[in-house]
Symmetry: C3
Subunit: 436 residues, 3 copies
């Protein structure tokens, strides 16, 4: 069963954590959703699939849920392209619930049931202090021993949805090394903001979830310090695609590259989100809003009203930004626009820059200037802007994160090769796989 450990340590990044009810009451085929989710592939299939025998499934249906997981995994498990980590029940304050969770894992991992060879691990919700995490770990160790699995071969992911679990994130690195536990099996640290909000007794006027930036930071930091992977919780306004994207962008700036997905539509968005865009784009920032410029015949055209530009006499220009007017010469104008502009590099741009830096390093240089220039058109007036950024080893390594993620996806998800090649072209995919 060493395949578990091997497979587990293959993933350095997880983009999607997709939960599916394990049994739906009153349906002829109570495992229908489970069966459908098991058959997703390509960009529609998640990196981690979570048959959810906790909140997504009614309490009275959970025994049937475990049977459904076993059936569906036996039948379709071999074809699931991502990892499979069912969520069982658990609660830091209920020994009854914890014992039920133990029994569920015991059942799932029983070789006689034929599902264990497709089982990568389990997800434990509602954990508390680190000592509570150890209780779950110990149950999994016992399960492994009972069923002849290698110790540590079943991964354990947790949902961080209480103040004490958030505090435990700071203890992980130290506790994971201790001989009396197998916490090295830890895999994902997943924020659960609904229950966390309840546990923190927070209130917002509209009933929306608070943003909890500190929780997400602490989860991301805990993952970084302990070599684990941080995942944000569910975004429950499932029609709000733009809001989901904004949340992911915010998460990514915190080092949290994965997110919970509640629907197949969210899986697709979340699979694509941390990948660099196909095409680069220039933005201008006015009044704290960023407006993307239209690429047209090699120029980038601003079409809003907040910036106005016209030529004045004597090679001078009148520039008005958000109502503030200035008269500038050509160099000043270029400088002023450069301050407002920023560039979002494409995958191709990132690969180019990395290759350029790697060549420079081989030639013995420690730092080089990367130039980026463009022609920006506002009200018909064209302005050249150009910026230099110093790249040293640290810049290079920080820029590498999206590339490492890309490579991790490519290596672990052969079912997405076609999608990636369609998005970026074969040549670029090849170059992105060898750089870094």
């Amino acid at each position: 069963m060493s395949t578990h450990t091997d497979r587990l340590h293959d993933r350095k990044f997880v983009r999607t954590f997709f939960t599916t009810p394990t049994a739906v009451k009153g349906e002829d085929d109570s495992a229908k959703m489970l069966r459908r989710a098991a058959q997703l592939s390509g960009i529609e299939a998640p990196d981690v699939w979570v048959p959810d025998n906790e909140d997504a499934t009614a309490p009275s249906m959970r025994d049937e849920g475990i049977e459904n997981i076993i059936d569906v995994l036996s039948e379709h498990g071999a074809d699931v392209p991502g990892e499979i980590h069912p969520r069982v029940v658990w609660h830091r304050e209920s020994p009854e619930t914890r014992y039920q969770g133990f029994q569920q894992i015991l059942e799932l991992a029983d070789p006689e049931n034929g599902a264990v060879e497709h089982l990568d691990g389990v997800v434990i919700p509602e954990v508390g202090d680190i000592d509570d995490w150890k209780k779950a770990d110990e149950f999994i160790t016992i399960v492994e021993n009972e069923h002849g699995l290698e110790e540590g071969s079943l991964a354990m992911s947790v949902i961080v949805e209480s103040g004490e679990a958030e505090l435990a994130l700071g203890d992980l690195r130290e506790e994971m090394g201790k001989p009396s536990n197998n916490l090295e099996r830890l895999f994902l640290l997943v924020d659960g903001e609904v229950d966390y909000t309840k546990d923190m007794r927070a209130i917002t006027p509209t009933g929306e979830l608070p943003p909890w930036p500190e929780l997400r930071h602490n989860t991301s930091r805990g993952a970084s310090a302990a070599g684990l992977i941080a995942i944000d919780g569910p975004y429950d306004d499932i029609r709000d695609v733009e809001g989901y994207h904004e949340r992911m962008t915010d998460n990514q700036a915190k080092g949290m590259l994965g997110i919970w997905s509640l629907t197949p539509g969210q899986v697709v968005e979340a699979n694509k989100s941390p990948l660099p865009p196909k095409n680069g784009s220039w933005l201008l920032e006015v009044d704290d809003r960023e407006i993307e410029l239209e690429a047209e015949d090699g120029r980038y055209v601003y079409e809003g009203d907040a910036i106005e530009l016209e030529e004045a006499a004597d090679d001078r220009y009148r520039l008005s930004v958000g109502g503030d007017e200035q008269e500038l010469d050509g160099d000043e104008l270029s400088q002023e626009l450069l301050d407002l502009a920023s560039y979002i590099p494409s995958l191709n741009d990132i690969v180019d820059s990395m290759e350029e830096f790697e060549a420079a390093k081989e030639a013995g240089k420690g730092a080089i200037a990367m130039e980026r220039s463009a022609t920006i058109a506002i009200d018909g007036v064209e302005v050249e802007i150009s910026n230099d950024r110093m790249w040293d080893e640290a810049t290079y390594q920080a820029a590498q994160t999206p590339i490492t993620l890309f490579q991790d996806v490519y290596e672990n998800r052969p079912d997405q090769h076609e999608d990636l090649e369609e998005m970026y072209g074969e040549d670029l995919v090849e170059r992105a796989m060898v750089v870094g």
Copy 2:
């Protein structure tokens, strides 16, 4: 004296922490403010009243302050509707101040002085590491023993106003269980941002206090993990009622439902703030500003200039939001406005939703869709909008926080029954008391 423990554990929420000088120099009746505060009742009386023998009282008046507290408590203590927790002196870096604090507690709790039966606990300012908290706890244990009070019967609240006290918040849960202390007496964790700012050596251009979001998060999380109650520090621009409200709304989204009050006016605002509103309201968000719509004949009317709407030919509409114009059909228009709209539910709405979910649960359903619809009028054009939100057990429990607070207030503050019934009506109060 077991009444202390009983009463202490009654409160799950504290809205107001109202400090009053214990003695004012040069006044004929130096206890006048204390006497007046002791006689507040109803919505004007705080949940926790703090005769403040530290910063609010001049150092030379503090002996007199203790005598005043004893006098006023003996006389009026029985009628004070909230709890009484005087603040004594303490400093993590001064054994002299700590010994003074010990003597003050010894005096306050002396049964011969006749105040102790109204004394719920004491507030310890300027604490440091957890070991410093233990010193205060030990003094209180000694006081309890000397005066024949039950161990742990006097509550201890602390002011978190140093980096080391903030760090100690992470140790509470673990330390509170140890047999060599009585830290279970802990009650309120109160942020003290003025001294914290000094201790952190922070500077702002205008001299205003920094917002310290991380401190407030850590205090709230510490309270959540250790079963305590988090209170934000003083808002010292006492004329700025709007600012006080914004601060409280921000705190509530962090799980910090109580706040320091410096004046009777602030007490009233803070008592009301975490209670749900009497009437629900619809908001539209434009350019990061939320505008409340006017309820008029069952419609919600937008009266600003930032959104413009007119009918065009062929059942289409022209909608302009913050200068961006779109032409939309009826469904698109409704969807667009729904994205801009949010609803602040009333107490009645929350009780309705909870009752609906409880009924569904009894009927065997785990999740139901809650619909909320309205007619919005902009420039005379009426648009129907309607949104669905999925409620499951977790949503239900998170929505319950304001109701639990309401019930806690109602049970512990009979003096506010009249105010609550006046605000909400008797029927609604009754329903809110049985739901959940």
Copy 3:
């Protein structure tokens, strides 16, 4: 060598942490930049100068770098007005790099090389857990012992650029007291956001660094709790002076008064930033933007378009703020403008207020109202505004931070006396040195 310890504990504040490459490949004089930096003085010289033998210097040049540091310190060290703390190599995950770091320190501190008497300490990058910090501390202890230096006389500063180092910030206070280490030598806690971003695997669309507010808070709090000094990392858009200032203002509100400087230009800006301004200024806030008013003949004139004011009949006024119009009487108008206004006090204002409070305290008062009034002119209409702020001991102490910093600069940087006197005038400098 006890001078090290003495000097070390002299600095309570550090404004500037200026790194300089120790050797530049292919230059005739590879130490040219080092030599130039050593000769800076006055407002152009940093509080802490860091000959950087790590990232700023190519790996192949680092042996030469150490020789250059030794040469330049022997020659110019006595004249360097700030402290000197070279950065050596180190990595929590590489024993090879750590051993190289040890050898570099051994070399730098060898009395035969003649540099040690000008060496105040070393900077250790890429630290991990607190146990990793102890490894560096132990090497420095061995170096001190080998070279006959007093134990603890060489300061140690660290770059916090990993999740585990951020977590270690919470352990410092406890660990620094232990007899088996000399961590009392710790001096600066410096954030390194480029490598931190890599370590946290964060991504931003443009490749800019995330703002990492929690890291900066935790560093500042760690410094406060352990009696150390917090420094923010490099701001690498070196032409963006305004952005550098905004970053410093944001840092200062977090208690982080020092910042990394990459260029002599940044050193000058960072040296001045935490000092109070020469002249006070009034601001009006409209739509979240603060506009500074022009001082003209004792009035403060608003010259923008966002606020409009005109007199109406019957001593009433029409005030329009960001499009919202109101009709007000004189008192209401004054109150309305007071709500929009804020004042940035000058050094002189702060000294005045402190002197006033000190006089009141001597006269036996614990709290006094400080009044600040001004005539504001909008569209030719003049309005008097006046605000009161209560000052008590805590307010006084919090206001004192910029003065304590000023005094610390004056005492430790005689080479900046002339600059300070030019900025503020001799009289004010004298008063600022005796207040508090």
